[in-house]
């Protein structure tokens, strides 16, 4: 195996140092060292994040915004400071455009509810064939509630968004929003966001990118992308659970009615009528995920210290390496061959069900995901019911990919 490791090209990350910052990576599973290839579902957490949460609770915590005392003021500063961190991370024009949500799913539901409230029956929303349920079900619910039309942009057999077909869907000028993934969690396809945005804008539509997968792997610049809405989720970005982000242009946020009602999102309240706080507070009802938001800031600071360019390079190399290694596994077929792929590879194997693959890998300490990956319509499009999926993080190393490939060969032998 070490011979294999030598073959890989050099990259800038100090993997050994990075891995040491993830205590969970030294755990054993079924008496084997953990090989965690399920980061696309949720990433593991570095000490920087774990310690940030613990330190916050140990030394500087109170409810925020309405408190006049020291602990509350300091906690408010830490919480609000993360808006600046996130704004810089996305290159958003303004911190006021950053809305904290529970996860990407809530961010998209917020848009479906509040931007959706501005749509009129007959207007349309376009999504793609390769959306995660999080960017599909909310629009279905809006369709059924508000009488808008839901249009589905097809993908090519390679797993890329079919831009010609998208252009056709936009032609009648009825589309109010194009909501598509920035990177598929099944195929790894990175979508040509700028082109999509330009097409959408030409047709008078806004554009939302589900960045849940993308932000983890590459530098995101919402202005360069021409995005109107952008969402991501903290737990895939080495941050805690319970925290996600919606970015939207201020003019849109200003125009949208609130999603949930409660404390902190109001300006004044009487029984007759309430008025709303300014954005982003209008969209953050109740006590937010204070500790998790602060720790999301720590996660972003941590990854930016490594540098998104280095992360992208590392994962690109790993992905190429993995595609090569998997090509040698008899009977294995990688699903999709997109133009531009992030660190996610789905595959199937002749005669071996993805569930059996996942379970047998697990017996050998290797964690991958198997199933429909919350993308049932995509599975149907691919003529599959499930795939196995390996996905890579900043801590993934080539020897783990070797372990995956070698174990897959043995699994096939076991069944065939």
């Amino acid at each position: 195996m070490s011979a294999t490791v030598e073959k890989r090209p050099a990259h800038q990350l100090d993997s050994a140092a990075i891995r040491q910052q993830f205590p969970i990576l030294s755990q054993q599973v079924h008496d084997r060292p953990l090989v965690f290839l399920d980061s696309a579902a949720s990433a593991q957490k570095p000490n920087a994040v774990i310690d940030c949460m613990a330190d916050t609770m140990r030394t500087q915590y109170a409810n925020i915004h309405r408190g006049l005392h020291w602990m509350s003021e300091r906690t408010t500063e830490a919480y609000e400071g993360v808006r600046d961190v996130v704004a810089a991370f996305l290159n958003a024009p303004s911190r006021e455009e950053i809305v904290f949500t529970r996860n990407s799913t809530e961010a998209i539901n917020l848009v479906a509810h509040s931007f959706g409230a501005l749509l009129k029956p007959g207007q349309a929303v376009v999504i793609s064939e390769m959306e995660h349920h999080a960017n599909l079900v909310p629009w279905q619910m809006l369709r059924d509630r508000a009488g808008i039309e839901l249009r589905i942009a097809p993908i090519t057999d390679e797993g890329d968004l079919d831009l010609d077909a998208l252009r056709d869907l936009l032609a009648d000028g009825q589309v109010a929003l194009v909501a598509v993934t920035h990177m598929s969690n099944v195929l790894g396809s990175v979508t040509p966001a700028r082109q999509i945005a330009d097409m959408a804008h030409e047709a008078g539509a806004q554009v939302l990118f589900d960045g849940s997968q993308f932000v983890v792997h590459r530098k995101t610049d919402v202005q360069a992308l021409g995005a109107d809405f952008y969402t991501f989720t903290g737990h895939k970005l080495y941050g805690p659970t319970g925290i996600g982000v919606l970015w939207a242009r201020k003019a849109l946020l200003d125009a949208m009615p609130p999603f949930m009602g409660g404390g902190d999102m109001i300006s004044t309240v009487t029984f007759e009528r309430s008025t709303w706080a300014h954005v982003p507070h209008k969209f953050e009802a109740g006590t937010p995920a204070i500790i998790e938001t602060i720790a999301l800031g720590a996660a972003i600071a941590w990854i930016e210290q490594i540098g998104m360019e280095a992360v992208a390079a590392h994962e690109a190399e790993l992905t190429t390496y993995a595609l090569n290694r998997l090509a040698d596994v008899p009977g294995l077929r990688v699903v999709g061959a997109p133009h531009d792929r992030g660190g996610v590879i789905s595959f199937v194997m002749d005669d071996v069900h993805p569930h059996d693959i996942a379970t047998l890998l697990d017996r050998n300490g290797i964690a991958v995901r198997a199933g429909h990956h919350c993308a049932e319509p995509l599975m149907r499009r691919l003529g599959l019911t499930a795939t196995a999926r390996a996905s890579f993080g900043v801590y993934t190393i080539p020897s783990e990919i070797d372990a995956l490939a070698e174990t897959l060969v043995r699994i096939r032998n076991f069944f065939v």
């Binding site: 069900h353 993805p354 379970t359 050998n364 429909h372 019911t385 032998n413």
Partner: protein, 154 residues
């Protein structure tokens, strides 16, 4: 890394063989009762067809699309319940589930006094106790059986 794949503890040879070459797969010309099981989470599906001879299950066939666990579970279920009375098959079903969650057999039954059956080859699935998420794969054929038996008075 060791050389063999460490699946033997979980995937008994019997399971692998029955998944590869099931003995009871197919369809009956004239089933008396049928049932279906579906796991929307993974798309697995099984259809169970039975004939009843007086009050005994006389013939069983299954049509299963799923993982090795599910395939083998369907096939071994078909084998094991052939010849049982419907009520006995249901008792067995409860005992099978109880084994999978490593629960006391009687605690999973209704009255706590039902007669235990030998699980026999079905015990091959016992290692699933350590793989909770796969238990529903093994149970799917039994869900289908339950539906089928709901059409007869037990």
């Amino acid at each position: 890394m060791n050389k063999g794949v460490d699946g033997s503890a979980l995937y008994d040879r019997l399971i692998v063989e029955r998944a590869r070459s099931p003995l009871f797969s197919g369809r009956l010309e004239q089933p008396d009762i049928t049932g279906e099981g579906k796991n929307p989470l993974c798309g697995d599906k099984t259809r169970v067809e039975l004939t009843l001879d007086q009050d005994h299950i006389s013939l069983v066939r299954h049509h299963t699309r799923g993982c090795a666990i599910c395939q083998a579970a369907a096939d071994l279920m078909a084998e094991r319940i052939t010849g049982l009375k419907p009520a006995e098959a249901q008792t067995l079903s409860r005992q099978f589930s109880a084994m999978l969650v490593a629960a006391d057999v009687t605690s999973a039954s209704d009255g706590g006094t039902e007669q235990p059956f030998a699980l026999g080859p079905l015990e091959a699935f016992a290692p699933l106790q350590a793989h909770r998420a796969r238990i529903r794969c093994a149970e799917l054929p039994w869900v289908a059986l339950k539906e089928a038996l709901s059409h007869v008075d037990v």
